[in-house]
């Protein structure tokens, strides 16, 4: 029994963090947020050079062939830097979909480009997981898709889009397919790019090599775990910044961190967040080791990190006093990052309903994909 990261995992953490320190500084994050850039190609290139774009892709397709735990460590580092990157769609969710439900021909045509960081993928699964809003939904018929999908992850400039239809089956749509239009959304979080897509008799290839509902459930569990890891990293950064500030800011002739009123806020943040680290690790580990409770754990990771991160985000801001709410400080990038993670693919109340239903507790919820 070993519940810890091994040497290679720690080395991966260090190299990803080091690369992001250089390529995703606060200045770079701010520049991305303030520009209309669709994809931070420089950051993505640097991460792809480390192999991050192919973290889950088998070596036969040019990837590292690692597990979701390694992907979670990368996601955590991205959250810690509030870094823009197409990691979630291109390196995690599209490969999960292709590996779970793609034919070997589909895998061979897309995985190597994704793993090399040359192609970027969008993922349109919000209706199947977070729930359908504003009448959205995509219907499939005769190899063609029609309808709308909202809150598409990494939607802009995608070379391919993984789309879930109303039945929960997955399809692959090429970025230049006829009848496809993408509308960028503006969210609070300017470090990531979401969009709506509409398809109108658009050609698509079904991903039908496995059980379709099981593939969508894999995407759900993988995505929830990644969003939890992103929140873990972002929250840890906010705590670090609050603690550092409490050690340098003086009022009433004392460092504010020596006042229990401030010190206890810091302790409460750490006490809430520290156990989350083990929850995220286990959620990612369980995704691959597949014990019966894996899906429940993924739901709890997403929901619990959402609650803890909201608390950390507001508390870290308060510890900074007035400067905490300024644009110049930049803490708001992390505040908004966890704000998006919380809502994306289902807010905590919805996700907990799924957690209960998966355990057979109470009346079943329509939101649960029974894998």
């Amino acid at each position: 029994m070993d519940f810890s990261l091994d040497g290679e995992q720690r080395a991966l953490q260090a190299s990803v963090s080091g690369t992001l320190d250089r390529t995703a500084s606060l200045e770079r994050v701010r520049a991305f947020a303030e520009s209309g850039e669709a994809v931070a190609r420089d950051i993505w290139r640097a991460l792809a050079d480390l192999g991050a774009a192919g973290v889950l892709t088998p070596e036969a397709h040019g990837g590292l062939g690692l597990g979701l735990l390694e992907a979670a460590l990368i996601a955590e580092a991205l959250g810690a830097h509030a870094a823009p990157s197409p990691f979630l769609g291109s390196a995690v969710l599209a490969p999960i979909a292709l590996l779970a439900a793609g034919s070997s021909a589909q895998q061979a045509s897309w995985l190597p480009g994704l793993a090399a960081g040359e192609l970027v993928a969008a993922v349109a699964i919000s209706e199947g997981i977070g729930g359908a809003r504003d009448g959205a939904g995509v219907s499939a018929s005769g190899g063609r898709l029609s309808g709308r999908a909202l809150f598409v992850i990494d939607a802009l400039e995608a070379d391919l889009i993984i789309v879930a239809d109303r039945e929960g089956r997955l399809h692959l749509v090429r970025g230049e397919a006829p009848g496809l239009t993408t509308t960028p959304l503006t969210t609070i979080d300017l470090t990531r790019r979401l969009g709506d897509i509409s398809v109108n008799d658009t050609p698509a290839e079904p991903l039908e090599a496995g059980d379709a509902r099981a593939a969508l459930a894999r995407l759900r569990d993988g995505a929830w775990t990644m969003l939890a890891a992103d929140m873990l990293g972002a929250s840890a950064t906010m705590i670090d910044k609050a603690v550092a500030y409490a050690k340098e800011r003086k009022q009433f002739g004392r460092l504010i961190g020596s006042f229990q009123a401030v010190k206890h806020l810091c302790a409460e943040m750490a006490a809430e967040l520290e156990p989350c680290r083990a929850l995220v690790w286990y959620s990612a580990y369980a995704f691959d080791a597949a014990p019966p409770e894996a899906a429940v754990i993924a739901a709890h990771a997403k929901a619990h990190l959402s609650e803890v991160s909201r608390f950390v985000a507001r508390t870290a801001t308060e510890v900074h006093g007035g400067v905490g709410i300024t644009d110049l400080l930049g803490l708001h990038f992390w505040f908004k990052r966890v704000g998006l993670d919380r809502q994306l693919l289902g807010g905590p109340e919805r996700v907990r309903t799924v957690a209960a239903t998966l355990q057979g507790l109470g009346l079943p919820s329509p939101a649960s994909i029974e894998a």
Partner: protein, 394 residues
């Protein structure tokens, strides 16, 4: 990360499970006689499911320390809802302290009968004027020939009424600085001059006592560790106490009981578990509890690797006690009006245990280092924030 325990450990787990299955008829029920409890304890030590790593020479099972096996035992007992071995303060706190700081003679004399349940201990630490600031204790032990003569008062002493012996902090060097003047004594509760007064709490029960010492005469050989070194000796014990409070294993059992309750109890014909608001609270607590459970696994691994638990260890007491308390609150709320029944009332559920736990657990949040002291520790030792400026010693 590799959560497989491996064949040796899986075989051990099967062995423990098989034992629990076949011994079910001998489990002491709540309210069992002391004889039955002692017989069960003896069997558990023999099998290595209690006092597992205490040397056989002192009445333990004598196994080499193996964090995983200890954990497997705890998990198997929780899952089977089997009564564990004795867990009083003598076993959980005094025995580890004697193993670390006691003389050979003290170990040989006290550990075996304590493990066997033949000696019951109580702890004399807190005083009315020394709670969070424990080192401020004022109970005096004055040298008189070969003896100490003790005068003073202790509080929050659980099991004092049944205890045969006490381990106790007293001030032996009144002129020394606060922390350097304390000694750790063990002596009989039958010594003349000790008065025990039950301390009734909000639960309606006297889970604690007050102790009054009037010219209590004990031999100087009662000291554990060096004279004046009692603070360091006591800290060995407190370390063991903090590890106990906030244990996620007990919270898991509590969560399982609430899930059962919410599936059985109905309001207006609707099962409690089908109420979306109650179910959401249940899920929130399950999420928190899972985080604490995996945090505990992470700490086991750190211990195996000889690493310090760091922040992950410092937060256990604060968070674990809080989750436990909130679980009790949820059970009460879910039960609605039935949730207020108490004592011997008709329609009482679980003997009123949920209200009793809700109130008693507040004591656990306060005791063993209050939540506020825990936050100071997390902030100062875990995050490196500046210490509270010390006032001049009074």
């Amino acid at each position: 990360m590799n959560l497989a325990y491996g064949p040796e450990y899986e075989a051990f787990r099967q062995e423990v499970r098989a034992f629990l299955e076949e011994s079910r008829g001998r489990w002491p029920a709540p309210g069992a006689s002391r004889g039955e409890i002692i017989a069960w304890q003896k069997l558990l030590i023999e099998r290595g499911y209690a006092a597992r790593t205490i040397p056989a020479a002192y009445g333990g099972h004598g196994a080499a320390p193996d964090v995983l096996k200890s954990r497997i035992v705890a998990e198997a007992f929780t899952q089977a809802r089997a009564p564990g071995g004795l867990s009083g303060q003598g076993i959980s706190m005094l025995v580890p302290t004697l193993l670390e700081a006691g003389s050979e003679e003290q170990r040989a004399r006290w550990i075996a009968p304590t493990l066997a349940g033949e000696i019951i201990w109580c702890q004399g630490y807190s005083e009315p004027g020394a709670g969070s600031d424990l080192a401020a204790i004022g109970t005096r032990a004055v040298e008189d020939g070969d003896d100490f003569v003790i005068n003073g008062q202790k509080i929050w002493t659980s099991t004092a009424a049944q205890a045969d012996m006490i381990f106790c902090l007293v001030r032996t060097e009144p002129m020394a600085p606060k922390h350097a003047g304390i000694s750790y004594l063990v002596f009989s509760m039958k010594t003349p001059g000790i008065e025990v007064r039950p301390l009734k709490t909000m639960t309606g029960h006297a889970e604690f006592n007050e102790l009054f010492f009037t010219d209590v005469r004990v031999p100087q050989s009662s000291i554990v560790g060096a004279r004046g070194a009692g603070w360091a000796v006591a800290n060995t014990t407190l370390k063991h106490e903090r590890g106990m409070l906030g244990d996620p294993n007990s919270a898991e059992a509590r969560l399982a009981a609430i899930i059962e309750l919410m599936g059985e109890e109905c309001v207006d014909g609707e099962r409690l578990i089908d109420n979306p608001l109650l179910r959401d609270r249940l899920m929130q607590l399950q999420g928190r509890l899972l985080a604490m459970k995996f945090n505990a696994l992470r700490l086991v691994s750190a211990q195996l690797a000889g690493e310090s638990g760091g922040l992950a260890a410092l937060v256990v007491k604060l968070q674990g006690c809080e989750v436990n308390h909130q679980l009790a609150a949820l059970a009460i709320d879910a039960l609605g009006e039935i949730g207020v029944l108490y004592g011997q009332s008709p329609r009482l559920r679980a003997g009123g245990a949920w209200q009793q736990r809700y109130m008693f657990d507040l004591g656990l949040i306060i005791g063993g280092g209050t939540a506020q002291i825990q936050k100071n520790i997390i902030a100062e030792r875990g995050l490196g924030l500046p210490r509270e400026p010390k006032p001049a010693e009074a």
